[in-house]
Symmetry: C2
Subunit: 304 residues, 2 copies
């Protein structure tokens, strides 16, 4: 049977590129039958990356049959995976997120989780001195530049940076110029409805009994998002109700200026912002200097 | 702060040796402060190994303060770890068991789980070409021979075997002779009460709503155990009641003859044995040819 390789349900560049990278490795190097698939539509940056490196868009699957051999990458969170994930035949997990619990396997399998910025960096290490075609190098480089926001995110490690610089040198690619292309693609939000923007890159998180959907939009053009702030704040009420959370938080991360703007639709978010970030909130937005990473700078400080 | 490195609550050779191996690596190679500790008294084989390789017995700890830096080895099962394990600062997990779920970490950490027979084999790989002192090689070899029952267990992989043979060659040790010493040490059960034997190497497992404590005693002298079968079966009732399970199962694994004898104290176990192993039970024991591994040959087939 063919092993399906997939990341989480909101495929960004790492969750689109890493399945392709690992499916290539399983097929071409390990001699297994493997196929990269997506659990949702790739975001605009991921779509740009597929096009740039001549990769056909992987098949989008919404249901996977029990017992299907599977490799999970870029997440270990059952909430971000098919509902029947524990009934699949998961043979490996490669990830760089905290262990959230909930995944169970029938027997011992290969699990590699590392505190690095990007799944593709871990895959690079696992492949050792395997000779990589340019397409795979290009995907790896794209994943690392995307997840590290061109090394600006505090999740970046020296190792992620070194691997990216080596790949870029091999490919003859100028990192700054290529990263600009990536971020420009990610910043094109014109095709998305408000509710889509609120769900595009978001994780549920509970603080003192209150459930939040913590959404992040990384962009080089924050104005494009903030121009839509009134309708985004109106949409938050519907999205929260539909998704069974109490409040949506939207952090608009300005990649180039290295700051985030949090939308403040009500007193609940105002109080949260003031307590969590020692910020003074006067209007319906608040700028949080230096905040770029949900994992490192938002989730750990959220308090009510 | 010093990182505590520990395995599960019933320290066998792998759960005693692997913490020592990894604490050595963290201290001597990584330049960190680390200490191997045990969550219980080592079994007789592990005690023999400590003595053979001139290792002082690690400190036995029963409580670990919240926030203590910790590396967990040879398990990922919260039931086999301190009750406050998710409140510790776990920085790494190295294991070769199935993922059971339940462990959670505050941030991304190093997790390496491999479908190999022994934690020490994984550590050997993670250390790469680090020069190892004889003491560490001796501990690694002991762990692998113990967990693979000298390569007899079906959990054994070619890689475990190759690593053990390399270590034995480096040390000038005859594997067969040394394994005999290990198993002889493990087979000396004279100091243990019946209840201790029933709990020494056991895992809880539920079949169709019935809770079992599945105990295994690996020995080269099954007669020493079976001579005590009447009092062991009497003790099962008390142990089950105290531990909140419905039934204790005791499999006496004859390492040299590669078979297990299951004690059959009542009709419940008789039915279970007949359904699970296609065995015909006539008395109060049943021999199961070829059965050596709880993980591979007992847990997966248990049916009611």
């Amino acid at each position: 049977m063919t092993t399906l390789v997939f990341g989480h349900k909101s495929p960004d560049t790492d969750s689109t590129g890493s399945p392709l990278i690992w499916a290539w490795y399983l097929t071409e190097v390990q001699g297994q039958k493997a196929e990269a698939v997506l659990l949702g539509e790739p975001n605009t940056e991921a779509a740009f990356v597929l096009n740039r490196w001549d990769c056909p868009k992987p098949r989008i699957v919404t249901e996977i049959a029990d017992g299907t051999p599977a490799v999970i990458v870029d997440t270990n969170n059952p909430a971000e995976l098919p509902a029947n994930v524990n009934a699949l035949d998961v043979t490996a997990i490669i990830d760089h997120h905290k262990l959230v619990g909930g995944l169970e396997t029938k027997g011992p399998i290969d699990i590699t989780i590392r505190p690095l910025a990007c799944t593709a960096t871990i895959m690079h290490d696992l492949m050792g001195d395997t000779a990589l075609p340019d397409q795979i190098k290009g995907l790896m480089l794209s994943c690392i530049l995307s997840d590290t926001l061109e090394f600006r995110s505090p999740t970046t490690t020296e190792h992620d940076r070194a691997v990216a610089e080596k790949l870029a040198a091999d490919l003859g690619i100028d990192i700054a110029a290529y990263a600009s292309e990536l971020f420009e693609a990610k910043s094109d939000i014109s095709a998305f409805a408000d509710a889509e923007l609120l769900r595009m890159d978001s994780k549920e998180y509970e603080v003192a009994g209150t459930k939040f959907r913590v959404s992040v939009l990384e962009t080089t053009a924050p104005k494009l998002v903030l121009d839509r702030k009134d309708s985004l704040m109106a949409s938050m009420v519907d999205v929260a109700a539909q998704d069974g959370v109490d409040q949506v938080l939207l952090f608009v991360v300005d990649i180039l200026n290295e700051e985030a703007t949090l939308l403040v639709p009500n007193d609940l978010v105002k109080t949260l912002a003031e307590k969590s970030f020692a910020a003074t909130v006067t209007g319906d937005t608040v700028v949080l200097p230096g905040v770029m990473s949900r994992k490192k700078q938002i989730i750990p400080v959220l308090t009510m």
